[in-house]
Amino acid sequence: MTIFSVYIEEGCITCDACEEAAPEVFEVTDDTCFIKSDVRLDGGFDRNDSKSALKKEVINTLSDDIFDAADGCPVDVIIVVESQAVEEKEEDEVPVIEVEASIEVGITEEPLEVEGLDAFLTTGDRTLNVFFGSQSGNSEELAAKLAKNASQYGLEGVVHDMDGFDINAMASMKRVAIVCSTWGEGEMPDNAEALWQAAASSGAPRMDGMSFSVLALGDTSYELFCQSGKDWDKRLEELGASRVVERVDCDVDYEAPASVWAEESLTMLSAIDDSGNLHEELIDAIRDLVSGGVAVADGEDGFTIPDLLAKEIEVELSVFRYNPHERTSGTDTWLCSLKGHTTLLDALRSIQRTHDGSLCFTDGSSHDPCTALLVNGRVTLPGSTRIDRLSNGRPGPVMLTIEPLPGYDVLRDLCVDFDSLLKKRESASVWHVSKTREAVKSEQGIAIGPMDASKAVELHAMSNHAGPQVIHACSDAVAYADTYLGPSVCLDLWARRCDPRTSDKRINAIDATLAGTDTILAETDIAPFGRQPLAGRDIQAALSSARTRALEVNGFNGRHGKHVWWYAWTLKSSGKVNDTVLYRQVLGPLGLLSNLSSGVTARMVTGFTRTGGKMVNDILALVAPPAGLGKMPRQFNKRVDNHHEVVSIFNSLDRRF
């Protein structure tokens, strides 16, 4: 029997006995004992919980000393793993992995050899240590997000607050990601100061086995922009750690660059093996694997299962193109063979990388509303939409028509300018203006404004959407109505209007804005919101309620109000809508004359290509033409059976009509 590995269990009393017996192997720290990195295959410096194998020369020369140390341990926490207990491994053995790129647009390749990659991503120590130095919470939030997403890359993300962390423990880590903000004039956040001082000191341990990446948060309005992140990046390199991804410095709008950094860092750190070696040959395969969409399972624990078995499907991508310099537009079509779990965003990235570098689209995180596109008329977040989910299940290639979001100026290809929306929001002052109101005190003595739970739920439903950019594009009318402020502005105004915290003065101002012709009354059809997955019934209902309020403020006057009022009136009168009454009452004499001269009336009478129908529908056709002539609607409706029931319902619920 030979030694394979040695590790330390919980309960070390730091008596130094082991260090005296085998100083080459054991190092007693303040609260436990570590297995030295020089003797381990993984190069780590910790208690060796992962049971990393010892180097061959160590086993050959120091086995007796290790056994002596174990025997002499008064609390028996030194556990020697002998070769019988585990499968024997060669020292320099690395898993045999055969990987081929799985997603290449336009080329159907051999299926991915996932077994080797799967083994690589699931065996050994796959810990990713994410440190945050945070003052306002942004870094902490990003660190948590990174750790959560690490599971998609076969990594186990562990978040560490820098505050109180031991620099020696940090030095033993193999994969480290640092998210650190800068405070004041280039200073470390409070929670990072102590660890930084330890790292910056001359006595800091070497970090030769570590692979790292740094995300620096800062503000360009300060002279020492992202200085803390820069300091960490430089110091870790000085201590021997290997940088796997170049540091990214973020300004106050950090989400998009942070997202790109996170994706790249997770890919690279995932390709680091137990021994700290980077497997470059796996990087593309890991990237492809993850971009294929690792689905989150429905279980409560949120574990992830790689969806590797999605079939390849044929996809015909018709992409809108626009060149602002030449002022030309058109459509480019690619016939691709893609894994079903490929996201639409990755398909576009692949096209851009392999076929057409000039293709423009907005890249970003999977839930970034600025990346949204119109796919077969569906407003879609391409980073979170799998190709196979866009299939209608019919035989033949999946046909996807990809267009820029409607309602915005197109900058180039699929990129649009959201500036117009921002200006509309600004002009409508969608901001919250509170009124002074009574508060109650929480158990902690903090004053809070109470809100009825059902009201809170109602307000949440109105604001729980993919983003104003997306809601704006869900309207079928917004692209055609020049002065219309758009549904997202209306929705925000309505949410403020419904908010009990809003001041009375502000409510009156919102009412006046909503009742204007450029807000919700300019929306020609609210039905499209209900069917758009990124909007939905709640948004549709909220916009409908906003419209009702606008009509009430106007006293059902104007064309909008008259249309609704006379519709209700005719329905109450006969149970059926009377088109003639609507036509006459809403358009008025001028409107009727306009339609007479524009040919609308003529087409209505003749029916144009509509077929059938009597030429004379009503006696009035003879005395007051064109009423009742041809396809003109009837002047009078026959009442529905039991019409009194209809009247009774009206009288019970709404006596206005």
Binding site: N392, D476, D525, G575, D579, F608, T611, V646, S652
Partner: protein
């Protein structure tokens, strides 16, 4: 044994679109569908009444749907707006039992009726594809129209859950009906977009632009005729076609018929009207 449905003709079929009602009855006779009229049924409100009073619209529709429940039948309609409005109100009540209770309370007080919520709402298109079946339908085709034809669904019908197994954004039911009857369906982006019909009287310029886009896109794909599953949109796309073209400068000159008209013609009904339509098809164009 014929398939039986309670029949709601929609909002305009009694007045400005009588051809829809006439052809719907003929289609159902041909395909072995028995329509049971609901003489007491009211207009569905088309979402317009709902803008004034949501619960009023729901209560009126609950009354109509309870009539079908009394007959033990599902409701069929050729009007996409009516199908969608009834479906939305029914689902809203089924998912909000407080609302259902309030509606039934009013309904019982005023009419003596109550709604159970067991009725289903079906559009003619869904019945054709799912109840009759495309194979059966294709055997009934006598007068195929062998041209490029553009399907128009509109946004009301294309709601998740309303149109059975069809895809809401990349539908194929109407295309399948066209193919089964000898036509060649064309694919164009705005086939499920709104024509803006509810805003016709108040936001005419916007509606004209929306309508012109739909018609010009269909025409640009070579369509000789548009087939609409929506009665109200059908009317707007037909009557305001010329005005839309003059307003936008787009080429919108294309005939448009309702789905029920189209199916009636290809199954051998109203041969004189079909002849007239074909003559119009021959003379309309660029």
């Amino acid at each position: 044994m014929p398939i039986r449905f309670a029949y709601h003709p929609g909002n305009a079929a009694h007045s400005s679109a009588p051809e829809v009602d006439e052809t719907m009855r003929a289609v159902c006779r041909t395909l072995g569908i028995e329509l049971i009229d609901l003489p007491g049924a009211t207009s569905c409100g088309a979402g317009i009444l709902g803008q004034a009073n949501r619960s009023l619209q729901a209560t009126l529709n609950a009354r109509t749907m309870s009539m079908a429940e009394d007959l033990g039948l599902d409701i069929v309609t050729p009007c996409a707006t009516t199908a969608a409005t009834l479906y939305e109100d029914l689902n809203m009540m089924k998912s909000d039992l407080n609302l259902m209770g309030a509606v039934n309370s009013t309904l019982e007080k005023t009419t003596g009726r109550t709604l159970e919520g067991t009725v289903r709402i079906r559009h003619l298109l869904q019945v054709l594809v799912e109840d009759i079946g495309l194979e059966t339908f294709s055997k009934k085709v006598k007068n195929p129209i062998r041209s490029k034809l553009a399907p128009y669904y509109g946004p009301n019908l294309q709601q998740e859950g309303l149109i059975g197994g069809d895809d809401v954004f990349d539908p194929w039911y109407l295309e399948s009906v066209i193919q089964c009857s000898g036509g060649i369906p064309v694919r164009y982006p705005s086939r499920t977009s709104s024509a803006g019909t509810p805003g016709l009287f108040s936001e005419e310029q916007t509606v004209l632009r929306q309508s012109a886009t739909i018609l010009s896109e269909a025409k640009a794909k070579g369509a000789k005729m548009v087939i609409s599953a929506c009665t109200l949109s059908h009317g707007v796309l037909d009557i305001y076609q010329g005005k839309a073209s003059r307003s936008t400068g787009l080429n919108t000159n294309v005939p448009i018929v309702h789905l029920s008209e189209y199916v009636a013609f290809v199954t051998g009904n109203f041969p004189k009207r079909l002849a007239m339509l074909k003559t119009r098809l021959a003379v309309i164009g660029d």
